[in-house]
């Protein structure tokens, strides 16, 4: 919920100009046909303005877990990694989107990483193998995380030809992502997206 609010507040200015556009509803499904929650659906519209970083983005480490699990940030955003645990953490990412290594050995120690390239950075902790998180670095403002029923509703998408993309770590495809073209009508769009079986 926290990241939804963040996202919504972050996109508010961007969407104001296209407030006349109808909402796009997408249901994400996995390769097995079941709805996919926690996946990222993004719509790329040619000519749409890039989103700008606003405020702070945080990926905290609390109770030996990253929170949130998936963090969507615009390109160029700086994300702080506070350690709220008493134990040490050693956050790292070998992803091409952003390679970094943060040795957070103190409580309330905070380090920041700036994500200046679009893509997904898979973040782990070298001490705790079970800890995992993703920072989704986006170039489009029309992006959201599917809810428990695998659904997203994205407002403000202008009608016309768009590219619809779905990301989830379980998707066995390059960059764990699939995409397809779609046409958003004046009345919006209701569709599904799923990786090829």
């Amino acid at each position: 919920m926290f990241n939804r609010i963040c996202l919504a507040s972050g996109l508010w200015i961007l969407t104001a100009a296209a407030s006349l556009a109808s909402p796009v509803t997408v249901v994400a499904k996995g390769a097995d046909g079941r709805v996919l929650s926690g996946a990222v659906v993004s719509i790329t519209v040619a000519g749409a303005p890039r989103p700008q970083p606003r405020g702070t983005y945080t990926m905290s480490q609390q109770n030996i877990a990253f929170a949130p699990h998936v963090l969507i940030v615009p390109v160029g955003a700086t994300v702080s990694f506070p350690n709220r645990d008493r134990v040490r953490h050693h956050a790292y990412s070998f992803s091409p989107a952003k390679r970094f290594e943060l040795k957070l050995y103190g409580r309330d120690e905070t380090k920041s990483v700036t994500f200046d390239r679009p893509g997904v950075a898979a973040i782990g902790c070298n001490i705790h193998d079970a800890m995992s998180a993703f920072v989704f670095v986006t170039t489009t403002p029309f992006v959201a995380i599917t809810d428990g029923s695998g659904r997203v509703v994205i407002d403000g998408v202008p009608p016309g030809q768009v590219s619809l993309a779905l990301w989830h770590p379980s998707i066995r495809a390059p960059n764990n992502s699939v995409s397809r073209p779609a046409i958003v009508a004046a009345g919006g769009l209701a569709t599904e997206i799923a990786p090829a079986r």
Binding site: Y92, F94, A122, G124, D129, M131, P174
Partner: protein
């Protein structure tokens, strides 16, 4: 089965064969059962061992996987390595893999990227390794693949950062060495072989040690479901085997591990048991054959003995079998012996019965004749002599008649005892009735026959005490000496009989040697017999009449008719000579009938007061037609019945007095008179007087002869007369020869007399004249 067909040796062999066969059958069954059980036991035991070993192999297999995955995990989680993989630092990756291969003794190791790229391996194996992470189902870390003739075990570990960015994959070749190291860990000497599926679809080992067979295919296919142990044939040897399909990348097995265990090795521990059973069976079989031969012999031997004994018995020999033991055979032998003894005993008894007299147990006539013949035939060789003594008891018939047969039998037994006692040197036999005979065989002293005969007579002249009765007895003997008096038994016995006959004629209680004249007399007797028959037909008989003078009426009251035989050649023949012959031959009936007719015919011509007295012999009297004959005679002659006087002697009563009495009563009812002749000479005359009212008693001549001078005779006559008078019977004294006798008789009250003193018997015509002549009567008076 007859005894002759019976072969005990066969029995023996058969029994032995039967028992041995039965035992072998039983043993084979036991051996088969044992074999099956041992086989089953061995199989169970081997199966259990193999299952255990299979489980051990599973554990080893799993441990190896853990070991391999552990090793690859270590590498896959190394931060630097992950970094190198994530950044695609090929050199770093390769060096890390080399280090790992050396450290973990893994021949091939590679890193597979998410895109399927392979770092660290090349060739077909590299392709297979590249596909592995994508083919393995979730949770699986290893798989076995067949690649050409080789089989590899592939193990993969994901490289996480923290999401999968690639995999570390190891390949271990499952070669013979790998198999041997596995085998070493098994408790039993199993052979492990990797099988691959041939292009034709059959499972076989790449090196050809395990060729493809349907058994193995079946084993493999059934092993997919569960663990199965079956018997397979490899290179001509039998093995227990189980197959362990080795999961391929996608589950389907590309290789199978075959674990086999030679059955001969598996069964080796049981060989001693099987050998022991076989050895024990053979030993017991030998014992059974020996034992059954012995047993059969023990049965057959007595049976053989019994069979021989039965044959001997069949041939008439008395045999005994040694009784062995108390079992059935022993009992059979015992029974046989008793049967044999019984047969012999019965045979001898039958023989004894055939040749012995049952009453006295003396040899009988047949035996006597046989012995006599034997002894005579022996004599002709030795020139010696033998004597036959023929003995007849005097008055035995009356003993039987008056005292009964049991007493008579007892008397005969006593006589037999006496004879046996007196004749230790001869053969005593009973020829029948009261006739006995003795053979004195060769070697006797010349006087012995005479001495023996005399001693017998002396012994038997004494009354014998039989059944508490004192019985007067006596014997007459005839003696014949063989072979002079007869060369064969028939002749000799006949002559002894003739001598006996003569002895009896001489007066009883004497013995007589055979003389040739006796034979002559016998011949005459036979001639008389022949002549008698024609005499009756040709009328050679005539009747004489002796007057009986009535002392009270002083006249002839009666004539006694007396038969005379005027033989055409020999002249007159005395009744003494021919009546016994007539009685012996039965001619007496016909002769008596003629006498009756003739006498009555004659009497009918006499004055009414003259009766005719006719002697009727006992034989004639007892003849069934006698009463009818009397009636017929009376009717034909017209004679008044009361003028006929039948004279009978006491001998008519000898066969019991019932029928005699009835006949007497019948004659009496006709009116015929009955006189009792020869009174005083029998045994119990007085009782007859009491039982029938005779018309007359005739006092025997023997009393009359001595009536003068012999007080006892006189007294007897007096008594008879008194008795007769009291019983209202007439008396006639016979044989009166002189006046003194007449006077005495008259004095005693005798009612009539008969005798030479008055008149000899005269012919019919003279009798008629005598009646008419009154001087006769006067002369008698």
């Amino acid at each position: 089965m007859t005894f002759s067909k019976f072969r005990p040796t066969q029995l023996r062999t058969r029994m032995a064969a039967l028992y041995a066969g039965l035992f072998i059958l039983g043993f084979v069954v036991v051996a088969i059962v044992a074999q099956v059980m041992i086989e089953g036991q061995a199989r169970r035991s081997v199966t259990a061992e193999m299952v255990t070993s299979g489980t051990v192999y599973d554990r080893i297999w799993a441990l190896r996987e853990q070991s391999l995955t552990g090793t690859s995990d270590v590498l896959a989680r190394d931060f630097g390595f992950r970094s190198a993989v994530a950044s695609g630092d090929q050199l770093t990756i390769l060096s890390a893999l080399e280090t790992l291969k050396a450290r973990a003794k893994v021949p091939v190791a590679a890193v597979v990227g998410l895109d399927g790229s392979v770092t660290g391996a090349t060739g077909p194996l590299a392709q297979a390794m590249a596909q592995l992470p994508f083919q393995l189902a979730d949770g699986r870390r290893d798989a076995v693949i067949g690649l050409g003739g080789d089989t590899y075990r592939l193990v993969s570990s994901p490289v996480l950062a923290p999401t999968e960015i690639g995999w570390v994959v190891f390949a271990v070749r499952l070669d013979a060495g790998e198999m041997r190291s596995l085998e070493k860990l098994s408790a039993i000497p199993m052979v492990a072989t990797i099988l691959q599926r041939s292009p034709a679809g059959h499972w076989q080992s790449a090196d050809g040690v395990v060729p493809p067979t349907s058994d193995i295919d079946t084993l493999v296919s059934s092993s997919r479901v569960s663990r199965v142990i079956s018997t397979i044939d490899v290179g001509g040897k039998e093995f227990y085997a189980l197959a362990r399909p080795l999961a391929g990348p996608q589950g389907e097995a590309q290789a199978v591990m075959l674990l086999r265990y030679s059955t001969s090795l598996a069964l080796a521990p049981f060989r001693p048991i099987q050998f022991g059973i076989l050895l024990a069976g053979l030993i017991v079989l030998a014992l059974v054959i020996l034992g059954s031969l012995r047993l059969a012999g023990a049965i057959a031997r007595p049976i053989t003995a019994l069979q021989r004994a039965a044959q001997a018995l069949e041939e008439g020999n008395r045999t005994e079998v040694d009784v062995i033991g108390t079992d059935e055979i022993g009992q059979l032998a015992d029974s046989f012996n008793r049967m044999s003894a019984g047969i012999v005993e019965r045979e001898s008894r039958i023989t004894h019965l055939a040749f012995h007299d049952q009453l006295t147990d003396l040899p009988n006539r047949a035996f006597f004749r046989q012995s006599l013949d034997e002894k005579l035939s022996r004599l002709t060789r030795t020139g010696e002599q033998l004597a036959v003594l023929y003995l007849d008891l005097d008055g035995f018939k009356s003993v039987n008649d008056t005292l009964g047969h049991p007493v008579g039998d007892a008397l005969l037994r006593s006589v037999a005892k006496v004879l046996l006692g007196l004749t230790p040197d001869g053969l005593v036999a009973r020829l029948g009735g009261d006739e006995f005979a003795i053979i004195l065989s060769s070697g006797f002293e010349k006087d012995r026959p005479r001495a023996l005969a005399q001693s017998i007579i002396d012994a038997l002249v004494e009354p014998m005490l039989v059944d508490g009765l004192c019985i007067p007895t006596g014997a007459s003997l005839g003696i014949a000496i063989g072979p002079d008096d007869g060369a064969n038994s028939v002749q000799l016995l006949k002559n002894a009989d003739l001598a006996l006959y003569r002895a009896k004629q001489d007066g009883r209680g004497v013995f007589h040697f055979f003389e040739a004249s006796l034979d002559q007399a016998a011949r005459e007797r036979r001639q008389i017999e022949l002549d008698l028959r024609s005499a009756l037909k040709t009328g050679q008989f005539e009747l004489n009449y002796q007057p009986i003078f009535d002392l009270n009426a002083h006249r002839i009251g009666c004539f006694e008719a007396l038969i005379r035989w005027n033989h055409p050649v020999r002249g007159p023949i005395s009744p003494v000579d021919f009546i016994p012959v007539a009685e012996d031959t039965g001619l007496i009936v016909a002769i008596g009938e003629w006498v009756l007719h003739e006498a009555c015919r004659q009497a009918a011509t006499w004055p009414g007061h003259v009766r005719v007295a006719i002697n009727v012999s006992a034989l004639q009297f007892r003849h069934p037609g006698f009463a009818a004959t009397v009636m017929q005679v009376l009717a034909r002659s017209g004679l008044q019945p009361n003028r006929l006087e039948i004279e009978i002697t006491e001998s008519v009563f000898l066969d019991g007095d019932g029928p005699v009495m009835a006949l007497l009563q019948k004659l009496r009812s006709l009116g015929v008179r009955i006189a009792l002749d020869d009174f005083g000479t029998g045994y119990s005359s007085l009782s007859y007087l009491r039982s029938f009212a005779f018309d007359k008693i005739k006092i025997d001549k023997s009393f009359v002869d001595t009536i003068v001078g012999d007080a006892s005779a006189s007294a007897i006559v007096s008594a008879i007369v008194v008795l007769a008078t009291a019983l209202k019977m007439e008396t006639t004294a016979e044989g009166v020869e002189d006046a003194l006798q007449l006077a005495e008789l008259r004095d005693k009250g005798c009612s009539s007399i008969q005798g030479y003193y008055y008149s000899r018997p005269v012919n019919g015509a003279a009798a008629f004249e005598m009646i008419s002549d009154p001087n006769f009567a006067a002369a008698a008076a």
